[in-house]
């Protein structure tokens, strides 16, 4: 019995395109996308706040859609294109959401911020949020314990070109 219990599963080769860079990784199947990014690719910008899909700190874009990377096994995303907070700025110029977060002081400690920003970038692409109330609702999967919510809403409105 114990032999079975203690067996670590075999590694599986997977391919990910992270922020435009190709990576091939040998991962055990229980490695989450979050841990693959943080521990295997040294991309610690994506944060772990609960590991249970409860806080949104680990939000990344997978093929353009925002997902909780802690609830996603890396092997399920073989071949996927992943964008993390490290991949949003282009040639040193901040993404409009990143700049808006600085302008509106939409963070304090900064720990939920990468997830908020990736989630906001995904929200912009979805084109679903038309006003502040809808932004609040559609950003409610990303907790901010510092309580920067009103500033986060204002930042997203700026990035959306709303008054």
């Amino acid at each position: 019995m114990s032999d079975l219990t203690h067996q670590i599963p075999e590694r599986i080769p997977i391919h990910l395109v992270v922020n435009g860079v190709n990576h091939t990784l040998d991962l055990v199947p229980w490695t989450t996308l979050l841990d693959a990014l943080r521990d295997h690719l040294a991309l610690s910008g994506t944060k772990k706040g609960c590991d249970h899909g409860q806080c949104g700190a680990c939000t990344v874009l997978v093929n353009g859609r925002r997902v909780n990377s802690c609830l996603t096994l890396a092997v399920m995303k073989d071949g996927a294109e992943i964008t993390t907070v490290e991949g949003l700025a282009k040639d040193g110029a901040l993404h409009p959401v990143q700049q808006a977060f600085i302008d509106h002081d939409a963070f304090q400690c900064g720990y939920c911020t990468p997830g908020q920003i990736c989630s906001a970038a995904g929200l912009l692409a979805e084109g679903r949020a038309r006003d502040a109330d809808e932004i609040r609702e559609l950003m409610s999967g990303n907790l901010c314990r510092c309580g920067a919510y009103p500033n986060i809403v204002a930042a997203i409105q700026q990035a959306m070109g709303q008054p």
């Binding site: 203690h6 670590i8 994506t46 944060k47 990143q98 900064g110 932004i135």
Partner: protein, 733 residues
């Protein structure tokens, strides 16, 4: 010298935080790094009979399992375990012996080559306990409450005055246990350096506190250990004391002579400190004209069996409301739980919540407007010491807040305001906190190219310390803020206490001023010696640093550039370190104040409560940064919404175990819970408190908010709910 102080300067660490470049404690790399996973006790009281890790050790990649039975040496005297903010008692020692003091206590550390293997292997540790009788229920054990202290001395005869009052209100208000839940998981990366020394990246509000603690616990010399914490993903008081994961990571590194990372799970963080549950009993006796004759406030709070944690819950009426008779006491009940710790506005958040709900109840009984009642009792002096304030613009907070909120349009009767299906309620409350300041040292290194590095061991836990230090340094050195680089939170940097109590803004800012004055003194010496110097014979007090030059304060055209002065003196860099101590002032009381106004909308059929508007008018001296300062108050307001409506750590007292130890069932406000928050900083010039007139903002933002919401819920529904949080079941009951 005021180009930056008082402006809405954006955070200087903003770019690092929005690009993911900012590294937190559990993210620092090391060669050969291995991972520790904590095994916790599943009983609240007793001892470990056996602990069997044989199956765990068979898992591929597992290197060691540390327990009380095989760990490296730890100090055996309480003194070694007492950090700079430890309460009275015998501090908890992780993996010290076989005793279990609380459910969730760490009892083993499984160390493996990778995190997943450590986590899996930890499930195979077999523990047998000898369980003992225990108690975790404050209300069940209320009769065992024993007086800890009297935060303020009694005045007059409060009991007699309460008994004879024209109008009397007396009630219990119950504040539940709450957990900080910073977004970052508690983490330590202990790096084993080639010379056997340790670099400890730790999630903490005080690197030097942790440094001193580790040196005494592990019997190390100061040079053997360095503690670093450049970014802290929220803490709110939970990182004031060294937490157990820093001990475990250090133990692991010493046992294996390798670098070890320990990251707690969200669940495990419920075994750390918390805001203690309190029963707050408040009594108010008034004359029929609305003046107070008696105030009594007794708090009964949870603490552990091994430490006496107590804060000032009850004395705040001494700052706010004049009353000839008063009595305050703080009682503790020792239970089989971990020791509580400071959590945003410790004491005040809970105690003022009760006081301000009671004041609202009194205003209803007196048929007086709640603001009018507070103005009738307004105190110009701190009554406990009978002292005037360095400044107190609370009346202006009431006036400005009421105007911005539209308070004059409030219809006083409960259930008298409605919008469709929703009952509308307007409530208000007062907030108060202390304006504390501590000794802090700062080092400035000015180079002849006009750049300065400013360094200090203080932490920035999201409070904006990096930014205000840069602002004050830029102004004091007469340089653009882009030329200032700030280094913080390294135990080898100049002295700073833990970042807490709202004291770091005033304390660090004045240390920067003091160090900058030393720099200016040296520059004046260099500039004054130049041939034909426009500063020849000038006194230090008559000079200022402006636009990259040292100049006469009364005539900026008589100046020498920093570059010229240093070149002439043959000096490449000027390095000055200065410890700033504030002069003791026993003639004034020092406090910040606020008036908070809340609008709630309550669905009459479903009981759903929405906080649709908050106005917080704050008097806190000079605001160093109006952008980050506003954010701090806003964050405090969001915490107040959580305290009023959401937050509660629920324990099953049959098992002495927390039942909602996660961030989905322990509710904190989400984006959709937070609507309009209007922060007003009332002008409050303060010539007494310190040179800049700064008081600090970290705590005042939450105080008063829960009561303003509770009072608004009463106004909306006619229901007075005295047991927090105010959830819809209580509204419908």
């Amino acid at each position: 010298m005021n180009a930056y102080i008082g402006t809405p300067t954006s955070r200087v660490d903003g770019r690092a935080k929005v690009t993911g470049a900012a590294k937190y404690a559990g993210e620092f790399p090391a060669g050969g790094l291995v991972h520790g996973f904590v095994v916790e006790a599943t009983i609240p009281c007793g001892r470990i009979a056996t602990i069997d890790a044989s199956e765990t050790l068979k898992v591929k990649g597992v290197l060691d399992v540390l327990t009380h039975a095989n760990r490296p040496p730890l100090a055996d005297k309480d003194e070694a375990w007492k950090d700079e903010v430890a309460p009275e008692g015998s501090p908890f020692r992780p993996l010290y012996d076989d005793k279990i003091k609380f459910n969730g206590q760490p009892i083993a550390l499984v160390i493996a080559e990778d995190w997943e293997s450590a986590k899996f292997a930890a499930t195979l540790v077999r523990v047998e306990y000898e369980q003992q009788g225990f108690a975790t229920d404050l209300e069940g054990e209320r009769s065992k409450a024993a007086e800890k202290d009297r935060p303020h001395k009694p005045r007059g005869d409060a009991a007699a005055a309460l008994a004879r009052a024209d109008v009397r209100h007396e009630a219990d208000y119950v504040i539940p246990t709450e957990h900080h839940n910073p977004m970052e998981l508690y983490a330590t990366t202990a790096i084993w350096e080639s010379d056997g020394k340790l670099t400890i990246y730790d999630k903490t509000q005080g690197v030097q506190n942790v440094h001193k603690f580790l040196c005494t616990v592990f019997d190390k010399k100061p040079d053997d250990i360095r503690v670093v914490s450049p970014y802290v993903g929220g803490a709110f008081g939970s990182g004031l004391r060294p937490q157990y994961q820093v001990v475990l990571a250090t133990l692991g590194a010493l046992a294996l002579k390798r670098s070890v990372r320990v990251v707690l799970t969200r669940q495990q963080m419920y075994g750390l400190g918390y805001r203690p549950m309190t029963i707050e009993r408040v009594g108010l006796g008034a004359k029929s004209d609305g003046t107070l004759d008696a105030v009594t406030h007794e708090a009964i709070a949870v603490t552990s069996r091994y430490e006496d944690f107590a804060r000032n819950d009850t004395g705040w009426a001494e700052q706010l409301y004049s009353s000839p008779n008063s009595r305050f006491s703080h009682k503790l009940v020792h239970l089989d739980v971990s020791t509580p710790c400071d959590m945003r506005a410790p004491g005040a958040a809970s105690g003022v919540c009760a006081l301000e709900c009671a004041m609202d109840e009194l205003s209803v009984a007196l048929k007086l407007d709640p603001i009018e009642l507070r103005l009738k009792c307004y105190s110009d002096r701190d009554q406990s010491e009978n002292l005037p304030y360095t400044s107190k613009q609370l009346h202006e907070c009431y006036a400005r807040g009421a105007e911005a909120f539209g308070w004059s349009r409030r219809s006083p009767a409960p259930r008298s305001m409605r919008d469709g299906k929703e009952l509308v309620g307007w409530g208000m409350a007062t907030g108060v906190w202390e304006a504390l300041q501590m000794p802090v040292a700062v080092r400035i290194v000015l180079t002849s190219n006009g750049h300065a590095e400013v360094s200090c061991a203080a932490s920035d836990i999201g409070t904006g310390t990096y930014t205000i230090v840069a602002q004050v340094a830029a102004d004091a050195l007469g340089l653009p803020i882009e030329n200032i680089s700030v280094r913080l939170a390294d135990s080898t940097l100049p002295q700073a206490p833990v970042e807490g109590g709202s004291w770091m803004a005033a304390s660090s800012a004045h240390a920067v001023l003091a160090a900058a004055e030393e720099v200016r003194k040296e520059l004046l010496g260099l500039a004054g010696k130049m041939p034909g110097s426009p500063l020849a014979g000038a006194e230090l007090a008559d000079t200022a640093l402006i636009d990259g030059s040292i100049a006469r304060a009364d005539d900026n055209s008589r100046a020498v550039t920093i570059a010229d002065a240093m070149r002439h003196g043959g000096v490449e860099r000027i390095e000055k370190e200065k410890l700033n101590q504030f002069a003791e002032d026993k003639k004034h009381a020092r406090n910040t104040h606020s008036a908070v106004f809340a609008e709630v909308r309550v669905d009459e059929e479903l009981g759903i409560i929405r906080v649709t508007r908050i106005v917080s008018a704050v008097a806190a001296g000079r605001i160093l940064n109006t952008k980050t300062g506003r954010s701090q108050i806003m964050g405090g307001v969001v915490w107040g919404i959580g305290m009023a409506l959401h937050e509660e750590t629920v324990m099953d007292h049959r098992f002495g175990r927390i039942m909602n130890a996660n961030i989905a069932e322990y509710h904190i406000p989400v984006n959709a819970d937070v609507h309009d928050i209007d922060v007003i900083f009332v002008d409050e010039a303060d010539a007494h408190i310190n040179k800049l007139g700064v008081k600090g903002l970290g705590e005042i933002g939450i105080v008063g908010v829960p009561a303003s919401i509770a009072n608004a819920v009463y106004h909306a529904t006619g229901k007075r709910i005295r047991r927090f949080p105010i959830t819809l079941d209580k509204v419908l009951d």
